[in-house]
Subunit: 167 residues, 2 copies
DNA sequence: GCGGAATAGATGAGCCTTCAACTACGCTAG
DNA sequence: CTAGCGTAGTTGAAGGCTCATCTATTCCGC
């Protein structure tokens, strides 16, 4: 049912040298990883959005702000922390501002900079959403895996992060 | 640096019963998995798009079609195979049609149905893109992991798929 | 202190996704 | 045959993301 996929061994020698095609085992591993991560993220985002009106992307922004001293953070730092482009974050913060959950404030140390500040309403929204989110992660991820699988998941994730890097 | 994250232990007892918060280890595992899958998918999509003009989403559609008899598939089946909503697929196929890579054809067995058919131009585009995609998957995923990690990744992915299921 | 390069962030157009209709066809019971 | 329901697919509006561009500020060397 998980049907083999992608990467039909097309014409030999297209870019530079023979492509290193995936064998059947590799394709299964790649597909399983890709499908499971997409489905899990979709599911968590959907459940969170429907239950609380907060998408996972917004949730991450609120969480990041809530964890800092003073519940505020420079825009660029926040973007990096949320794996977001600056433009995307700027748009997102504007929308959160409209909801009254975040406000912008000029950065005292650097006239170019802006601080995104979590408001009390924003914090309250986060507090309401957190239990929904954690229950999703638990039921769809941790409840499904053995402790060994969780350890392996973390190991694999951290290995990949060293390559893909924080940058 | 991977800083602990999300799920600030907010107010006790918000929805029904005390939320099953994540401990520090679980948060690290969750973060590593989330970040690595997001970064990897972003990276692959970006590289493929820039090198070939084909996003990963479009690529998946072309691959799915290329693997069938007659290079054609019912819209709904294709949507399911690509983890896409019907609406999303319908829009995407319209755009692929504009590029001349896919065409629609009424399904002979069912007057309601449509078949998406991969054109020769579409197949050629896929052939050109495949080596780029496979090289990305290899260099950013398989080259980074040991055989044991690959086996574990597949095992974890398949376990999660059984839960998230093709439903 | 002044000119140029670099950095921080905002903005708008265009594409993509989602959601809620909406159309069209098929299936079944009377 | 036909009414009503379910299924297949499309459509358009609204929101979100990307990319290129633009403004404002700081940093650096002289």
């Amino acid at each position: 049912m998980t049907a083999d996929v992608s990467l039909a061994p097309g014409d030999p020698g297209t870019p530079s040298g023979e492509p290193r095609w995936l064998d059947a085992e590799e394709q299964r591993a790649w597909r399983a990883w890709l499908y499971s991560s997409q489905l899990l993220q979709d599911r968590l985002d959907r459940e969170l959005t429907h239950a609380t009106g907060i998408s996972h992307a917004y949730y991450e922004i609120l969480v990041a702000l809530s964890e800092t001293e003073g519940r505020m953070m420079r825009m660029s730092e926040l973007a990096e922390r949320c794996l977001s482009s600056r433009s995307r974050l700027s748009h997102a913060v504007s929308r959160l501002e409209e909801r009254g959950w975040v406000r912008r404030q000029v950065c005292p140390d650097d006239g170019r900079g802006q601080l995104a500040v979590l408001t009390d309403d924003g914090f309250a929204a986060l507090e309401a959403a957190a239990p929904v989110h954690v229950e999703g992660v638990r039921s769809h991820l941790f409840d499904q895996l053995s402790p060994e699988q969780v350890a392996a998941m973390r190991d694999i994730g951290e290995t990949l992060l060293r390559h893909l890097g924080p940058r």
